[in-house]
């Protein structure tokens, strides 16, 4: 299939629905308020759950007394760790193909040692939310506070406080070695060296974590929850000690994910309470609980040293990345590996040395967040590029153009980039669109322009041997059903499958109904993470639809007495192509061919599986090998106005230029690029979960600020369509790539405006004033 996709004609095919800005099929239900999200679902006799959370980030639990809570009228269950059949499981997070060394502890309820503030200790189910809240207040927990460790650099040191039971807080370390780094710096005429820090940030989706679970027929615990991963049903079953086929997870439309609903949130808790009570149970986190208790983006400390020759060729880059994993492992090893592979960005650098470490602390745990380890190093390497350019008196665009990777070049990991690499084109277009600097509006205002480029993988790591499945069937009236276990988190995951199917089967979009996100009834399609659904499930759906199309055309060819390759389908009609000579009838109604197929027992459905190209595990001693199938390349350009008296920054322009391969739906693709730009701008400009010894000081959306409609201008999107992706019709992934380089471009624009650089995100007014030496 991939080979077939690579043999793309040089002129783009004339698609009917692919590439058209059609209304997403799920938008109508949302705009008329017919869509039922996780928290909009109630069942007769449903109980309400609450979670008791630790008041300390590091402590020993000496005792838990639930007697008073149990006695409260209306309380149906109180559970602590001792009530959980398998409270601790060692999980290979997200692995369908076993690879060693990526295990972590999944502990449902804390006992003995608390590892972060907000860790769950007890669960309550009661007849009303008020009773459940009252019951929480009646549970007495006796703690012995412990010292804890809250800085990953401190936590790495020998003798540091141990967050878990292991000797060391270091979860994992990676290396990339290319060439000889000392030789590289010998060749350099100019060297820059700095330490960069990026904060912990929250996903801040509008829909807090939520779900309802009930006991269904045949003893199946069914969970309808806001999740990016219905395949957690296996892990949940393991906790309960049930066979995997006795737990079913359904994902309704999800109110935003961004990686925060990739790890289990409410699912295990409500499953346990259903298992205990036999009654339906619902649980929705408060916003405060969401910010305190769900995963975060990893804060990093990054030491970078970069050398270039006087004509601007990068000859050496040395990086040390330290990531703060917080209290538990979760996806930290993967996130760090992503960062490590992408540590030198979309640049061809002669000598590279990267060392990285993920470290446990007693902070809120970190895991997946849109960009998955790519935005952190991007801020560092893109700052370094500008610092070098400044020393060499080159423009930011000039130094990058001297160093961009192109198709056929190798990454520092030795991997050859065989697909389209259009970073340089995206940079040129973005900077051209940015134009000449605006005029300052006042004497204290300085205008600055900045750019940043990035590479971000789409699709999971190739050594995980990723797969997706999809089912396409024709009904007797010619309408089409697609069943695919994707989770739709707002990116149009379901709608794009409808578009692909409509294109292949020649039916209008409204003839297609898509069933998604049910671990029992839809073919499993893997996670809606890693920017993988269009690539993986798009290819699986394309394959299934093509098989159905082949059967249809074969039957129609019999009827029309011609060859299948002479036929095409459009607007519910199968017809002989205009350039084919034929004496017979030229057109058949699609539903008539469907009926003829049904009468003759011709298969009108297909379940297809798409397998991503699989590779062996990389060599962790040198970092050599292939980790990803392909990357999306792009550039952000930003213009800011900085008031040097107050430090206030106005963002005047944001340009986002990406090689999208092929936009399946340009409206959706632009939507990803515009939304990604603001998501990343928040990272650069304002967002930070502030912790004091593990306590979150920003537990609301009034304290944890995200961009509003008045904080940024319209994002100007420029799409390059190389057709060179490995997704269906040559598409590349956009969900994560679109957010990676904005923060770096913003920081570079501020540095350009004020002449000095801020090395820590977010670049706030206070940091700007400090950098200017005014306080």
């Amino acid at each position: 299939m991939l080979d077939k996709l690579k043999e793309k004609p040089t002129t783009r095919p004339d698609y009917r629905i692919i590439g058209k800005p059609v209304a997403r099929h799920d938008a109508w239900g949302k705009v008329f308020a017919d869509t039922k999200y996780a928290n909009d679902y109630t069942l007769p006799g449903m109980l309400y759950a609450k979670v008791l959370r630790s008041q300390y980030a590091a402590a020993k639990v000496l005792s838990i007394d639930t007697a008073e809570a149990v006695k409260l009228a209306g309380v149906e269950a109180v559970m602590t760790a001792k009530d959980v059949p398998h409270n601790e499981t060692v999980t290979r997070f997200g692995q369908t193909h076993k690879v060693g060394g990526f295990e972590g502890l999944y502990r449902v309820l804390a006992e003995k040692k608390i590892r972060f503030r907000g860790e769950a200790i007890a669960l309550v189910a009661a007849k009303s939310l008020a009773i459940a809240e009252k019951a929480l207040s009646l549970i007495k927990v006796e703690y012995e506070p412990l010292e804890g460790v809250f800085d990953p650099v401190e936590a790495m040191k020998p003798g540091a406080y141990r967050v878990g039971e292991d000797e060391s807080n270091v979860i994992c370390s990676y290396k990339v070695r290319k060439g000889d780094i000392a030789e590289g710096f010998d060749l350099a005429d100019v060297i820059v060296e700095n330490t960069y820090r990026v904060p912990m940030v929250d996903h801040a989706y509008l829909e807090p974590e939520s779900g309802v679970a009930w006991l269904d027929d045949d003893g199946v615990i069914t969970i309808r929850a806001a999740t990016q991963v219905i395949e957690h049903f296996r892990g949940i079953a393991d906790v309960l000690g049930l066979p995997h086929n006795k737990v079913r997870v359904i994902a309704p439309m999800v109110g935003g994910g961004f990686g925060g609903k990739e790890d289990i949130t409410v699912e295990t808790y409500i499953a346990l309470l259903v298992w205990k009570t036999g009654k339906p149970v619902s649980l929705t986190y408060t916003r405060e609980e969401s910010i305190i208790a769900h995963s975060k983006r990893h804060p990093y400390v990054m030491k970078y040293k970069t050398g270039a020759t006087k004509d601007g060729k990068l000859v050496a880059m040395e990086a040390e990345l330290i990531s703060d994993a917080g209290g538990y492992v979760f996806l930290s090893p993967w996130v760090l590996l992503y960062s490590t592979v992408k540590a030198t960005g979309p640049y061809d650098i002669t000598h590279v040395r990267v060392d990285s470490h993920a470290v446990l602390t007693n902070n809120t745990f970190s895991s997946a967040n849109r960009g998955f380890g790519a935005p952190q190093p991007c801020f560092a390497y893109e700052s370094q590029l500008d610092e070098i350019a400044k020393q060499l008196n080159l423009s930011p665009l000039e130094i990058r153009k001297k160093n961009y990777l192109h198709t056929g070049d190798s990454l520092a990991t030795g991997r050859v980039l065989e697909h389209s690499v259009e970073t340089e084109q995206t940079a040129e277009k973005a900077m051209e669109a940015l134009g000449e600097p605006s005029q300052p509006m006042s004497p204290s205002e300085k205008i600055g322009q900045g750019m940043a480029s990035s590479m971000m993988s789409y699709g999971r790591m190739t050594f995980l041997h990723d797969t997706s499945r999809s089912y396409v069937s024709l009904e007797l009236d010619g309408s089409v059903t697609v069943k695919c276990g994707v989770q739709d988190i707002g990116g149009g995951q379901a709608s794009s499958l409808a578009q692909i199917t409509a294109e292949v089967l020649g039916v209008p979009l409204e003839d297609i109904t898509v069933y998604i996100g049910d671990s029992a009834l839809t073919p499993l399609a893997g996670t809606t993470t890693a920017t993988r659904q269009l690539y993986m499930s798009g290819n699986a759906t394309y394959k299934a639809a093509m098989a159905v199309r082949d059967n249809l055309l074969s039957k129609a060819a019999d009827i029309l007495d011609t060859a299948p390759e002479n036929l095409d389908i459009k607007d519910r009609e199968i017809f002989i192509k205009p350039d084919i000579k034929s004496d017979t009838e030229r057109v058949l109604a699609l539903d008539n061919v469907v009926k003829a197929c049904a009468a003759d027992g011709v298969q009108l459905y297909n379940v297809a599986q798409f397998n991503a190209p699989a590779r062996e595990l990389i060599d962790f001693k040198t970092g050599q090998g292939q980790v990803f199938a392909d990357f999306t390349f792009g550039t952000h350009a930003v213009e800011v106005a900085v008031d040097v008296d107050t430090g206030k920054v106005n963002v005047l322009k944001i340009i986002a230029c990406f090689d999208v391969g092929q936009a399946i739906n340009p409206l959706s693709a632009e939507g990803q690029i515009e939304g990604g730009a603001l998501y990343g701008l928040g990272y650069g400009m304002v967002e930070e979960v502030i912790l004091d010894k593990g306590n979150t000081l920003t537990p609301s959306l009034a304290e944890y600020l995200i961009p509003t409609s008045v904080d940024a201008p319209d994002v100007k999107t420029i799409m390059v369509e190389s057709g060179g992706g490995v997704g269906p019709f040559g598409a590349k992934g956009l969900g994560e790539p679109s957010c990676v380089s904005v923060a770096a471009a913003f920081a570079n624009a501020v540095a350009d405006a004020i002449g000095v650089r801020v090395y820590d995100l977010p670049v706030t007014a206070e940091k700007i004033i400090r950098a200017l030496g005014k306080i």
């Binding site: 997403r24 829909e207 707002g490 990116g491 959706s668 959306l701």
Partner: protein, 157 residues
């Protein structure tokens, strides 16, 4: 806890409930009246997902006590328009790709309606101001602003 009777007109229909002094309009709209289109994103007045129109004024239902709504008219997204009689805003949100996850949409469309009711032809900056109390994490706001602008132009014709 002492309760009080309230009567609230939700999208043209009078609804009765016994409420406590603490119950918010958001609580009773969702839990008693089944108006699940009113979303709970924070319950603290920070996100705007629960925006409804209370007697011609957009308010956060989570910051409005149920008692304050007694005898008043409440309009939610379902009252703005239906599939049979869509409001131009609903049409244009869909056509402009202004909806991604859709969780902010009910509050966003309601805020936009309140804006257009008081200012039928707002500038883009006025639109941005008008929805600044409604957070959206998916779209970057551009397509929402375009959709509102387009709806206002179409309505003006």
């Amino acid at each position: 806890m002492k309760t009080y009777p309230v009567e609230i007109n939700v999208n043209g229909e009078w609804q009765k409930a016994e409420v406590t002094a603490r119950d918010t309009l958001l609580d009773i709209l969702r839990d008693r009246f089944g108006a699940f289109e009113v979303k709970n994103g924070c319950a603290q007045g920070d996100c705007g997902a629960c925006t409804v129109i209370l007697n011609n004024k957009a308010v956060n239902a989570c910051l409005t006590l149920a008692l304050q709504a007694n005898g008043k008219n409440v309009m939610t997204l379902k009252g703005v328009g239906t599939p049979d009689q869509p409001h131009p805003l609903q049409q244009s949100f869909v056509e402009h790709g202004a909806i991604q996850c859709g969780f902010c949409t009910p509050g966003m469309v309601v805020s936009a309606k309140a804006l257009l009711d008081s200012n039928p032809e707002p500038t883009r900056n006025e639109i941005r101001e008008g929805i600044s109390g409604n957070l959206c994490r998916c779209t970057g706001y551009k397509k929402i602003v375009e959709a509102i602008e387009d709806a206002s132009l179409k309505r003006g014709k």
